[in-house]
Protein backbone atom coordinates (compact mmCIF):
# COMPACT_ATOMS: atom_id res chain seq x y z
CA UNK A 1 0.00 0.00 0.00
CA UNK A 2 1.17 3.49 -0.78
CA UNK A 3 1.37 6.22 1.78
CA UNK A 4 -0.64 9.32 0.95
CA UNK A 5 1.72 12.21 0.37
CA UNK A 6 -0.31 14.54 2.57
CA UNK A 7 0.15 12.21 5.55
CA UNK A 8 3.92 12.37 5.38
CA UNK A 9 6.26 15.12 6.52
CA UNK A 10 7.45 17.43 3.79
CA UNK A 11 11.04 16.25 4.38
CA UNK A 12 10.05 12.61 3.81
CA UNK A 13 8.16 13.48 0.65
CA UNK A 14 11.11 15.55 -0.53
CA UNK A 15 13.63 12.75 -0.04
CA UNK A 16 11.34 10.18 -1.63
CA UNK A 17 10.97 12.36 -4.71
CA UNK A 18 14.66 13.22 -4.90
CA UNK A 19 15.69 9.56 -4.67
CA UNK A 20 13.50 8.87 -7.70
CA UNK A 21 15.70 11.10 -9.87
CA UNK A 22 18.46 9.00 -11.44
CA UNK A 23 21.43 9.25 -8.99
CA UNK A 24 19.20 11.30 -6.66
CA UNK A 25 20.57 9.49 -3.60
CA UNK A 26 23.85 11.39 -4.11
CA UNK A 27 22.28 14.13 -2.00
CA UNK A 28 23.47 12.11 1.02
CA UNK A 29 27.06 12.66 -0.08
CA UNK A 30 27.11 16.46 0.20
CA UNK A 31 30.41 17.55 1.74
CA UNK A 32 29.31 21.17 2.28
CA UNK A 33 32.16 22.48 0.14
CA UNK A 34 30.09 25.35 -1.26
CA UNK A 35 31.07 24.86 -4.90
CA UNK A 36 27.37 25.13 -5.79
CA UNK A 37 26.93 28.46 -4.03
CA UNK A 38 30.13 29.87 -5.51
CA UNK A 39 29.07 28.81 -9.03
CA UNK A 40 25.54 30.13 -8.76
CA UNK A 41 24.97 33.41 -10.67
CA UNK A 42 22.10 34.42 -8.38
CA UNK A 43 23.17 33.09 -4.95
CA UNK A 44 24.16 36.61 -3.85
CA UNK A 45 20.46 37.54 -3.87
CA UNK A 46 19.21 34.35 -2.20
CA UNK A 47 17.98 34.04 1.40
CA UNK A 48 19.81 30.71 1.58
CA UNK A 49 22.53 29.68 -0.85
CA UNK A 50 22.38 26.23 -2.47
CA UNK A 51 24.88 24.84 0.07
CA UNK A 52 22.70 26.15 2.89
CA UNK A 53 19.68 24.42 1.33
CA UNK A 54 21.28 21.04 1.94
CA UNK A 55 22.51 22.11 5.38
CA UNK A 56 18.94 23.15 6.26
CA UNK A 57 17.60 19.81 5.09
CA UNK A 58 20.04 18.03 7.42
CA UNK A 59 19.09 20.30 10.30
CA UNK A 60 15.40 19.49 9.74
CA UNK A 61 14.67 23.05 8.64
CA UNK A 62 13.48 22.44 5.12
CA UNK A 63 10.34 24.51 5.72
CA UNK A 64 12.31 27.74 5.96
CA UNK A 65 13.90 27.00 2.60
CA UNK A 66 10.49 26.38 1.06
CA UNK A 67 9.34 29.80 2.26
CA UNK A 68 12.49 31.56 1.06
CA UNK A 69 13.21 33.37 -2.20
CA UNK A 70 16.05 30.92 -2.92
CA UNK A 71 14.17 28.36 -4.96
CA UNK A 72 12.48 31.00 -7.14
CA UNK A 73 15.80 32.65 -7.97
CA UNK A 74 17.22 29.51 -9.54
CA UNK A 75 17.44 30.23 -13.28
CA UNK A 76 18.28 26.59 -14.15
CA UNK A 77 21.76 27.33 -15.48
CA UNK A 78 23.00 23.95 -14.17
CA UNK A 79 26.43 25.26 -13.10
CA UNK A 80 25.98 23.75 -9.62
CA UNK A 81 24.92 20.42 -11.09
CA UNK A 82 27.91 20.00 -13.38
CA UNK A 83 30.44 21.26 -10.82
CA UNK A 84 29.29 19.39 -7.69
CA UNK A 85 32.15 17.08 -6.68
CA UNK A 86 29.62 14.67 -5.14
CA UNK A 87 27.47 14.50 -8.27
CA UNK A 88 24.40 16.04 -6.66
CA UNK A 89 21.80 17.18 -9.17
CA UNK A 90 21.09 20.50 -7.51
CA UNK A 91 19.02 21.98 -10.33
CA UNK A 92 16.64 19.01 -10.22
CA UNK A 93 16.50 19.46 -6.44
CA UNK A 94 15.55 23.12 -6.90
CA UNK A 95 12.71 22.05 -9.23
CA UNK A 96 11.57 19.56 -6.60
CA UNK A 97 11.62 22.27 -3.92
CA UNK A 98 9.57 24.58 -6.13
CA UNK A 99 6.96 21.85 -6.63
CA UNK A 100 6.81 21.06 -2.92
CA UNK A 101 6.50 24.74 -1.96
CA UNK A 102 3.43 24.92 -4.21
CA UNK A 103 2.01 21.55 -3.16
CA UNK A 104 2.39 22.18 0.58
CA UNK A 105 1.41 25.85 0.43
CA UNK A 106 4.69 27.50 1.41
CA UNK A 107 4.88 29.98 -1.48
CA UNK A 108 5.14 33.61 -0.36
CA UNK A 109 3.27 36.35 -2.17
CA UNK A 110 6.54 37.93 -3.30
CA UNK A 111 7.54 34.83 -5.28
CA UNK A 112 6.60 36.08 -8.74
CA UNK A 113 8.29 33.13 -10.41
CA UNK A 114 5.70 30.86 -8.81
CA UNK A 115 2.92 32.93 -10.33
CA UNK A 116 4.42 32.88 -13.80
CA UNK A 117 5.07 29.14 -13.59
CA UNK A 118 1.45 28.42 -12.61
CA UNK A 119 0.17 30.56 -15.48
CA UNK A 120 2.56 28.76 -17.81
CA UNK A 121 1.18 25.38 -16.73
CA UNK A 122 -2.44 26.52 -17.17
CA UNK A 123 -1.81 27.80 -20.68
CA UNK A 124 0.08 24.70 -21.78
CA UNK A 125 -2.58 22.41 -20.31
CA UNK A 126 -5.21 24.31 -22.25
CA UNK A 127 -3.54 24.58 -25.65
CA UNK A 128 -0.62 22.15 -25.64
CA UNK A 129 1.71 25.03 -26.44
CA UNK A 130 2.63 28.31 -24.83
CA UNK A 131 2.00 31.71 -26.38
CA UNK A 132 4.20 34.40 -24.90
CA UNK A 133 1.80 37.34 -25.22
CA UNK A 134 -1.04 35.90 -23.09
CA UNK A 135 1.53 34.60 -20.59
CA UNK A 136 3.28 37.94 -20.14
CA UNK A 137 -0.02 39.85 -20.24
CA UNK A 138 -1.70 37.75 -17.56
CA UNK A 139 1.43 37.81 -15.44
CA UNK A 140 1.64 41.60 -15.31
CA UNK A 141 -2.09 42.02 -14.74
CA UNK A 142 -1.77 39.70 -11.79
CA UNK A 143 1.41 41.09 -10.27
CA UNK A 144 1.82 44.72 -11.26
CA UNK A 145 -0.48 46.39 -13.80
CA UNK A 146 1.57 49.60 -13.54
CA UNK A 147 4.69 47.79 -14.65
CA UNK A 148 2.69 46.63 -17.66
CA UNK A 149 2.25 50.28 -18.62
CA UNK A 150 5.99 50.77 -18.41
CA UNK A 151 6.43 47.89 -20.83
CA UNK A 152 4.22 49.40 -23.50
CA UNK A 153 7.01 51.06 -25.51
CA UNK A 154 8.83 47.75 -25.87
CA UNK A 155 5.60 45.91 -26.58
CA UNK A 156 4.83 48.39 -29.35
CA UNK A 157 8.28 47.94 -30.89
CA UNK A 158 7.86 44.17 -30.83
CA UNK A 159 4.37 44.44 -32.27
CA UNK A 160 5.59 46.58 -35.18
CA UNK A 161 8.18 43.94 -35.99
CA UNK A 162 5.55 41.21 -36.10
CA UNK A 163 6.76 39.69 -32.85
CA UNK A 164 3.51 39.85 -30.87
CA UNK A 165 1.23 37.13 -32.18
CA UNK A 166 -1.93 37.37 -30.09
CA UNK A 167 -3.71 34.12 -30.83
CA UNK A 168 -2.28 30.99 -29.23
CA UNK A 169 -1.84 27.95 -31.42
CA UNK A 170 -3.85 25.04 -30.11
CA UNK A 171 -2.55 21.58 -30.98
CA UNK A 172 -4.89 18.94 -32.39
CA UNK A 173 -4.08 16.51 -29.62
CA UNK A 174 -4.70 19.04 -26.83
CA UNK A 175 -7.82 17.32 -25.51
CA UNK A 176 -6.28 13.83 -25.49
CA UNK A 177 -3.17 15.15 -23.86
CA UNK A 178 -5.18 16.92 -21.19
CA UNK A 179 -7.09 13.77 -20.29
CA UNK A 180 -3.92 11.69 -20.18
CA UNK A 181 -2.24 14.35 -18.00
CA UNK A 182 -5.09 14.45 -15.55
CA UNK A 183 -5.24 10.67 -15.29
CA UNK A 184 -1.50 10.64 -14.76
CA UNK A 185 -1.93 12.84 -11.74
CA UNK A 186 -4.81 10.81 -10.29
CA UNK A 187 -3.74 7.24 -10.90
CA UNK A 188 -0.10 7.65 -11.82
CA UNK A 189 2.14 6.39 -9.09
CA UNK A 190 4.81 8.93 -8.41
CA UNK A 191 7.97 7.60 -9.94
CA UNK A 192 9.68 7.56 -6.56
CA UNK A 193 6.79 6.49 -4.36
CA UNK A 194 7.73 3.74 -1.97
CA UNK A 195 5.67 1.03 -0.38
CA UNK A 196 4.38 1.83 3.08
CA UNK A 197 7.10 1.56 5.67
CA UNK A 198 6.76 -1.26 8.17
Amino acid sequence: MLLDRSQQSVTDVFLEDVYSIPHGEKIKECIQCGTCSASCPTSYAMDYTPREVIASLRAGLLDRVLKSNTIWLCASCYYCTVRCPSGIKLTDIMYELKRLAVEFGYVQKSAKAAIVSKLFVDLVDKNGRIAEVPLVGKFFLKTNPFAALGMMPRAWKLFRRGRMPMIPNRIKGAEDLKIASENLEITGVHAGAKEEKT
Partner: protein, 292 residues
Protein backbone atom coordinates in the same frame (compact mmCIF):
# COMPACT_ATOMS: atom_id res chain seq x y z
CA UNK B 1 19.72 14.42 -44.34
CA UNK B 2 16.20 14.05 -42.99
CA UNK B 3 15.12 15.14 -39.55
CA UNK B 4 11.95 15.84 -37.63
CA UNK B 5 12.11 19.49 -36.65
CA UNK B 6 10.96 20.83 -33.30
CA UNK B 7 10.76 24.65 -33.39
CA UNK B 8 9.41 25.08 -29.86
CA UNK B 9 6.89 27.64 -28.66
CA UNK B 10 9.22 30.62 -28.56
CA UNK B 11 10.01 30.33 -32.27
CA UNK B 12 6.32 30.57 -33.08
CA UNK B 13 6.01 33.72 -31.05
CA UNK B 14 8.48 36.47 -30.32
CA UNK B 15 11.46 34.77 -31.92
CA UNK B 16 10.27 33.88 -35.41
CA UNK B 17 13.52 35.25 -36.81
CA UNK B 18 15.36 32.23 -35.42
CA UNK B 19 12.94 29.88 -37.16
CA UNK B 20 13.19 31.77 -40.46
CA UNK B 21 16.98 31.86 -40.46
CA UNK B 22 17.32 28.24 -39.32
CA UNK B 23 15.07 27.02 -42.12
CA UNK B 24 16.87 29.14 -44.74
CA UNK B 25 20.31 27.90 -43.72
CA UNK B 26 19.19 24.26 -43.56
CA UNK B 27 17.62 24.57 -46.97
CA UNK B 28 20.92 25.79 -48.41
CA UNK B 29 22.85 22.97 -46.72
CA UNK B 30 20.54 20.12 -47.76
CA UNK B 31 19.31 19.48 -44.22
CA UNK B 32 15.72 18.49 -44.72
CA UNK B 33 13.65 19.64 -41.74
CA UNK B 34 10.06 18.34 -41.59
CA UNK B 35 8.19 20.02 -38.74
CA UNK B 36 7.17 17.46 -36.11
CA UNK B 37 3.49 16.70 -36.53
CA UNK B 38 1.29 18.44 -33.94
CA UNK B 39 4.17 18.98 -31.51
CA UNK B 40 3.48 20.33 -28.03
CA UNK B 41 5.37 22.35 -25.40
CA UNK B 42 8.44 20.45 -24.20
CA UNK B 43 7.52 20.95 -20.52
CA UNK B 44 10.25 23.54 -20.01
CA UNK B 45 11.62 24.94 -16.73
CA UNK B 46 8.48 26.86 -15.79
CA UNK B 47 6.32 23.77 -16.31
CA UNK B 48 8.49 21.23 -14.50
CA UNK B 49 8.69 23.70 -11.60
CA UNK B 50 5.04 22.89 -10.90
CA UNK B 51 4.34 19.47 -12.42
CA UNK B 52 6.97 16.80 -12.80
CA UNK B 53 5.18 13.81 -14.29
CA UNK B 54 3.15 15.91 -16.69
CA UNK B 55 6.32 17.62 -17.86
CA UNK B 56 7.84 14.24 -18.71
CA UNK B 57 4.63 13.27 -20.49
CA UNK B 58 4.80 16.43 -22.61
CA UNK B 59 8.36 15.66 -23.69
CA UNK B 60 7.59 11.98 -24.20
CA UNK B 61 4.70 12.81 -26.53
CA UNK B 62 7.07 14.74 -28.79
CA UNK B 63 9.61 11.92 -28.69
CA UNK B 64 6.92 9.35 -29.48
CA UNK B 65 5.77 11.33 -32.52
CA UNK B 66 9.36 11.63 -33.75
CA UNK B 67 9.79 7.87 -33.30
CA UNK B 68 6.67 7.30 -35.36
CA UNK B 69 8.14 9.53 -38.05
CA UNK B 70 11.29 7.37 -37.87
CA UNK B 71 13.65 10.31 -37.68
CA UNK B 72 15.88 11.94 -35.12
CA UNK B 73 14.63 15.17 -33.64
CA UNK B 74 16.40 18.45 -34.38
CA UNK B 75 15.76 21.29 -31.94
CA UNK B 76 16.98 24.87 -31.93
CA UNK B 77 16.04 26.10 -28.46
CA UNK B 78 18.62 24.84 -25.91
CA UNK B 79 15.97 24.77 -23.21
CA UNK B 80 13.84 22.39 -25.30
CA UNK B 81 17.02 20.40 -25.97
CA UNK B 82 17.70 19.92 -22.26
CA UNK B 83 14.09 19.17 -21.38
CA UNK B 84 13.58 16.60 -24.15
CA UNK B 85 16.98 15.00 -23.49
CA UNK B 86 16.23 14.82 -19.78
CA UNK B 87 12.99 12.90 -20.32
CA UNK B 88 14.77 10.66 -22.81
CA UNK B 89 17.49 9.82 -20.24
CA UNK B 90 15.29 9.60 -17.16
CA UNK B 91 12.79 7.30 -18.88
CA UNK B 92 15.66 5.05 -19.93
CA UNK B 93 17.20 5.03 -16.45
CA UNK B 94 14.10 4.81 -14.26
CA UNK B 95 11.79 1.86 -15.10
CA UNK B 96 9.02 3.12 -12.83
CA UNK B 97 8.95 6.47 -14.59
CA UNK B 98 9.01 4.71 -17.97
CA UNK B 99 6.00 2.58 -16.99
CA UNK B 100 4.01 5.50 -15.68
CA UNK B 101 4.66 7.70 -18.72
CA UNK B 102 4.13 4.85 -21.19
CA UNK B 103 0.74 4.15 -19.67
CA UNK B 104 -0.28 7.80 -20.06
CA UNK B 105 1.06 7.91 -23.62
CA UNK B 106 -1.08 4.92 -24.51
CA UNK B 107 -4.17 6.98 -23.74
CA UNK B 108 -3.13 9.33 -26.52
CA UNK B 109 -2.56 6.32 -28.79
CA UNK B 110 1.19 6.76 -28.78
CA UNK B 111 4.09 4.71 -27.55
CA UNK B 112 7.74 5.44 -27.08
CA UNK B 113 10.49 2.84 -27.19
CA UNK B 114 13.38 5.21 -26.52
CA UNK B 115 15.00 5.18 -29.96
CA UNK B 116 14.96 8.90 -30.79
CA UNK B 117 18.08 11.00 -30.53
CA UNK B 118 17.53 14.67 -29.69
CA UNK B 119 20.06 16.85 -31.50
CA UNK B 120 20.78 20.55 -31.61
CA UNK B 121 20.91 22.23 -35.00
CA UNK B 122 24.33 23.78 -34.32
CA UNK B 123 25.86 20.37 -33.73
CA UNK B 124 24.12 18.90 -36.79
CA UNK B 125 25.49 21.66 -39.02
CA UNK B 126 29.04 21.26 -37.72
CA UNK B 127 29.16 17.46 -37.48
CA UNK B 128 26.93 16.35 -40.35
CA UNK B 129 27.58 19.03 -42.96
CA UNK B 130 31.15 19.95 -42.17
CA UNK B 131 33.66 22.56 -43.19
CA UNK B 132 34.01 22.02 -46.95
CA UNK B 133 30.31 22.06 -47.76
CA UNK B 134 29.80 25.19 -45.69
CA UNK B 135 32.76 27.06 -47.18
CA UNK B 136 31.57 26.16 -50.68
CA UNK B 137 28.33 28.09 -50.12
CA UNK B 138 29.84 31.37 -48.95
CA UNK B 139 28.92 34.44 -50.99
CA UNK B 140 29.83 37.09 -48.42
CA UNK B 141 33.19 36.77 -46.71
CA UNK B 142 32.02 38.72 -43.60
CA UNK B 143 35.49 40.33 -43.62
CA UNK B 144 36.55 39.21 -40.18
CA UNK B 145 33.38 40.33 -38.43
CA UNK B 146 34.30 40.20 -34.74
CA UNK B 147 31.72 38.08 -32.95
CA UNK B 148 31.32 37.19 -29.28
CA UNK B 149 30.20 33.54 -29.37
CA UNK B 150 27.55 33.22 -26.66
CA UNK B 151 26.41 29.70 -25.83
CA UNK B 152 24.31 30.30 -22.73
CA UNK B 153 23.56 27.56 -20.22
CA UNK B 154 21.51 24.73 -21.54
CA UNK B 155 23.20 23.91 -24.83
CA UNK B 156 25.96 22.11 -22.96
CA UNK B 157 24.62 21.76 -19.44
CA UNK B 158 23.81 19.51 -17.72
CA UNK B 159 24.47 16.70 -20.20
CA UNK B 160 27.55 17.92 -22.08
CA UNK B 161 26.79 15.71 -25.06
CA UNK B 162 27.58 18.40 -27.62
CA UNK B 163 30.73 19.98 -26.26
CA UNK B 164 32.55 20.92 -23.07
CA UNK B 165 30.05 21.87 -20.35
CA UNK B 166 31.76 25.12 -19.42
CA UNK B 167 34.03 26.09 -22.28
CA UNK B 168 32.61 24.86 -25.57
CA UNK B 169 34.21 25.85 -28.88
CA UNK B 170 31.81 24.40 -31.45
CA UNK B 171 30.23 27.79 -32.29
CA UNK B 172 33.65 29.45 -32.46
CA UNK B 173 34.63 26.84 -35.05
CA UNK B 174 31.53 27.35 -37.16
CA UNK B 175 31.94 31.13 -37.08
CA UNK B 176 35.51 30.76 -38.35
CA UNK B 177 34.29 28.59 -41.24
CA UNK B 178 31.95 31.35 -42.45
CA UNK B 179 34.63 34.06 -42.32
CA UNK B 180 33.79 35.66 -38.99
CA UNK B 181 36.29 36.13 -36.20
CA UNK B 182 35.22 34.85 -32.78
CA UNK B 183 36.70 37.02 -30.03
CA UNK B 184 37.82 35.81 -26.64
CA UNK B 185 34.60 35.58 -24.61
CA UNK B 186 35.22 34.06 -21.18
CA UNK B 187 31.56 34.44 -20.13
CA UNK B 188 30.39 32.35 -23.09
CA UNK B 189 28.39 29.91 -20.95
CA UNK B 190 27.33 32.27 -18.16
CA UNK B 191 23.65 32.74 -17.39
CA UNK B 192 21.59 35.58 -18.93
CA UNK B 193 18.97 35.35 -16.18
CA UNK B 194 16.45 33.54 -18.35
CA UNK B 195 12.89 33.95 -17.10
CA UNK B 196 14.11 36.00 -14.13
CA UNK B 197 13.89 39.01 -16.47
CA UNK B 198 10.12 38.83 -15.85
CA UNK B 199 10.17 38.04 -12.15
CA UNK B 200 13.41 39.45 -10.69
CA UNK B 201 14.43 42.09 -13.18
CA UNK B 202 17.24 43.64 -11.11
CA UNK B 203 19.07 40.33 -10.86
CA UNK B 204 18.62 39.50 -14.55
CA UNK B 205 19.70 42.96 -15.74
CA UNK B 206 22.95 42.56 -13.81
CA UNK B 207 23.66 39.26 -15.51
CA UNK B 208 22.96 40.69 -18.97
CA UNK B 209 25.21 43.63 -18.20
CA UNK B 210 28.10 41.27 -17.41
CA UNK B 211 27.70 39.67 -20.83
CA UNK B 212 27.50 42.96 -22.71
CA UNK B 213 30.50 44.37 -20.83
CA UNK B 214 32.62 41.33 -21.57
CA UNK B 215 31.70 41.48 -25.27
CA UNK B 216 32.66 45.15 -25.44
CA UNK B 217 35.92 44.69 -23.52
CA UNK B 218 36.96 42.04 -26.01
CA UNK B 219 36.18 44.19 -29.03
CA UNK B 220 33.16 42.24 -30.28
CA UNK B 221 31.07 44.01 -32.94
CA UNK B 222 28.11 41.76 -32.23
CA UNK B 223 27.04 38.80 -30.09
CA UNK B 224 26.00 35.52 -31.67
CA UNK B 225 23.24 33.69 -29.80
CA UNK B 226 21.91 30.13 -29.82
CA UNK B 227 19.02 30.46 -27.38
CA UNK B 228 15.83 32.46 -28.02
CA UNK B 229 15.61 33.48 -24.37
CA UNK B 230 19.23 34.70 -24.21
CA UNK B 231 18.61 36.52 -27.49
CA UNK B 232 15.52 38.24 -26.12
CA UNK B 233 17.22 39.28 -22.87
CA UNK B 234 20.23 40.67 -24.72
CA UNK B 235 18.44 42.61 -27.47
CA UNK B 236 15.03 43.58 -26.08
CA UNK B 237 16.37 44.52 -22.64
CA UNK B 238 19.63 46.18 -23.68
CA UNK B 239 17.92 49.55 -23.31
CA UNK B 240 16.82 48.64 -19.79
CA UNK B 241 20.39 47.69 -18.88
CA UNK B 242 21.54 51.10 -20.09
CA UNK B 243 18.85 52.88 -18.11
CA UNK B 244 19.42 50.81 -14.99
CA UNK B 245 23.22 51.08 -14.91
CA UNK B 246 23.79 54.33 -16.83
CA UNK B 247 25.71 52.47 -19.53
CA UNK B 248 25.61 52.99 -23.30
CA UNK B 249 25.81 49.55 -24.88
CA UNK B 250 24.74 49.39 -28.51
CA UNK B 251 25.74 45.85 -29.36
CA UNK B 252 23.87 44.10 -32.18
CA UNK B 253 22.56 40.65 -31.23
CA UNK B 254 22.23 38.04 -33.98
CA UNK B 255 21.29 34.37 -34.00
CA UNK B 256 24.14 32.16 -35.18
CA UNK B 257 21.86 31.08 -38.03
CA UNK B 258 21.47 34.70 -39.11
CA UNK B 259 25.26 35.12 -39.28
CA UNK B 260 25.64 31.98 -41.40
CA UNK B 261 22.71 33.13 -43.53
CA UNK B 262 24.41 36.47 -44.17
CA UNK B 263 27.57 34.67 -45.24
CA UNK B 264 25.46 32.55 -47.60
CA UNK B 265 24.07 35.74 -49.18
CA UNK B 266 20.48 35.56 -47.95
CA UNK B 267 18.57 38.82 -47.64
CA UNK B 268 18.05 40.37 -44.25
CA UNK B 269 14.30 39.90 -44.67
CA UNK B 270 14.67 36.17 -45.28
CA UNK B 271 16.72 35.87 -42.11
CA UNK B 272 14.43 38.04 -39.98
CA UNK B 273 17.25 40.50 -39.34
CA UNK B 274 16.09 43.91 -38.08
CA UNK B 275 13.24 42.27 -36.21
CA UNK B 276 15.50 42.60 -33.17
CA UNK B 277 15.44 45.80 -31.11
CA UNK B 278 19.19 46.46 -31.33
CA UNK B 279 20.12 48.09 -34.64
CA UNK B 280 22.62 46.14 -36.73
CA UNK B 281 22.73 48.21 -39.92
CA UNK B 282 26.22 49.67 -39.41
CA UNK B 283 27.56 46.15 -39.16
CA UNK B 284 26.38 45.18 -42.60
CA UNK B 285 27.67 48.30 -44.29
CA UNK B 286 31.10 47.49 -42.96
CA UNK B 287 31.19 43.73 -43.39
CA UNK B 288 29.04 42.65 -46.31
CA UNK B 289 30.00 42.86 -49.97
CA UNK B 290 26.41 42.49 -51.09
CA UNK B 291 23.74 43.94 -48.81
CA UNK B 292 20.36 42.48 -49.56
Amino acid sequence: MNFSYYPGCSLEGMNKAYDKSARAVCDALGINLAELNDWNCCGASAYISIRELRAHLLSARNLAIAEKEKKDLVVVCPSCLTTLTKTNHYMAENPKLRQTISKALKETELQYWGSVKVRHLLEVIVNEVGQNEIKARIKNSLKDLKVAPYYGCQLTRPFGEIDDKEFPTILDTLLTWVGAKPVNFPVKTKCCGGMLMMTNEDVALGLVRNLLECARENGAECIATICPLCHMNLEAYQDNVNKHFGTDYKIPILYFTQIIGLAFGFSRKTLGIEEELTPSKALFEKHLEVIR
